[in-house]
């Protein structure tokens, strides 16, 4: 039963009973809310995983096309442009910025790609020949990178949501399986202790009443006895007096006085 284990260390008083009841109510409300939050997040999470799966497949295709266009460039330029490209890279034209999206209280950052205009590090690449192919390759790769950025935001959302869902579920379970039973146990314990006190009090009152009744009865008896004794004594005295006293009115015949 609700033994000493698995309950909070409180004194079984009416005040703490009220506190515990309020706490139980709060825990139940919190549990409901958290559960709903977890469900909303899980729904979002499933959607994201589905989209990740799709995006990964798409990425495979896109990267293949991009690699093919690079091969075209190599063929058209007639040599490796890798070294030249690596050396002329100075400042990123293609950048990402992060924005936030709020999903039931969780901020999910998402990447957004943008290109800074004005700097072109590869103006001279493919100047001799294959300029058109280089241009096309750049466009293809830019599209591929956009896909990659999209995938990266999905993945970041995935990682963060995964973590948040774990935390929320842990809280839901903690409330459901630890806090609520423990509070219920405490309430039960306090109730039983209070009942016990009530019974004790009742018993004590009864005892007191019994004793009082007994006392009154004894007192009554004593008083009656005293009164009886007194009346008896009075009667006896009366009798005596009656006997001793003479009729002053002269019921008895007086002897006539002769002068």
């Amino acid at each position: 039963m609700s033994g000493a284990q698995n309950r909070e260390a409180v004194f079984p008083t009416r005040q703490s009973l009220g506190l515990m009841k309020a706490k139980l109510k709060g825990a139940q409300t919190g549990h409901d809310l958290l559960k709903r939050k977890s469900e909303a997040l899980t729904k979002r999470f499933r959607e994201i995983t589905r989209r990740i799966d799709e995006a990964k497949r798409k990425m495979g295709r896109v990267m293949q096309i991009a690699a093919f266009s690079l091969a075209e460039v190599t063929y058209a330029v007639g040599g490796d442009i890798g070294y030249q490209v690596q050396e002329s890279a100075k400042s990123a034209r293609f950048r990402v910025r992060t924005k936030q999206e709020n999903v039931s209280g969780v901020f999910l950052p998402a990447f957004e790609s943008y290109t800074t205009e004005g700097n072109n590090d590869f103006g001279l690449t493919g100047l001799g020949k294959g300029g058109q192919q280089v241009q096309r390759c750049r466009e293809t790769y830019a599209r591929a990178v956009e896909t990659l950025v999209e995938l990266a935001s999905l993945q970041t959302a995935f990682v963060i949501l995964d973590e948040v869902i774990k935390v929320v579920n842990r809280r839901v379970n903690a409330i459901e399986h630890v806090i609520i039973p423990r509070t219920e146990n405490t309430i039960k314990y306090i109730n039983s202790e209070l009942d016990e006190l009530d019974r004790e009090e009742f018993f004590r009152l009864k005892k007191v009443q019994n004793k009082k009744q007994r006392d009154t009865a004894a007192q009554d008896a004593e008083m009656r006895a005293k009164r009886d004794a007194k009346t008896a004594a009075n009667q006896a005295e009366d009798n005596k007096e009656n006997k001793g006293s003479q009729d002053i009115l002269g019921e008895q015949e007086d002897a006539d006085v002769i002068f």
């Binding site: 799966d53 990267m63 490209v85 890279a89 293609f94 992060t98 950052p109 590869f122 995935f158």
Partner: protein, 124 residues
């Protein structure tokens, strides 16, 4: 809970660890960035057969933990395989780690650390 905004506010670059073709293509798209001197750091690393695993790991470490301006790290899948233990234990949200296919190595979803996590979560 979720990462504070300061953790990703300044992240605006992409970084790449890959073979020569992938890096060239991505650089052509315009992701290349070299920080101004004196310590000019590139945000890309070209890996060939001669590059040691230690060098790859060091670059991975630099892009993921040291530099705070990288939002997405792209890594070729066959290179990720070479430092698979590091990639699999990487769980941070920022920078986001993305395994990409390369020209010579088609994409294998079974090896992707994120997709594997997806599969594990759904019990497949």
């Amino acid at each position: 809970m979720a990462a504070p905004p300061s953790a990703y506010k300044d992240r605006q670059f992409l970084a790449v660890i890959g073979d020569e073709d992938s890096v060239t293509g991505l650089l052509l798209a315009g992701i290349g960035h070299v920080t101004p001197p004196p310590d000019s750091q590139k945000n890309f690393l070209v890996v060939d057969t001669k590059t040691s695993n230690e060098a790859i790991e060091e670059a991975f470490e630099r892009f993921t933990t040291e530099r705070k301006d990288i939002g997405i790290l792209l890594i070729n899948q066959h290179i990720a395989d070479r430092i698979r233990h590091r990639v699999d234990t990487y769980t941070a949200a920022f920078p986001s780690l993305l395994e990409i296919p390369s020209k010579d190595h088609p994409y294998d979803p079974e090896k992707d650390s994120v997709l594997r996590r997806v599969r594990r979560l759904f019990g497949e």
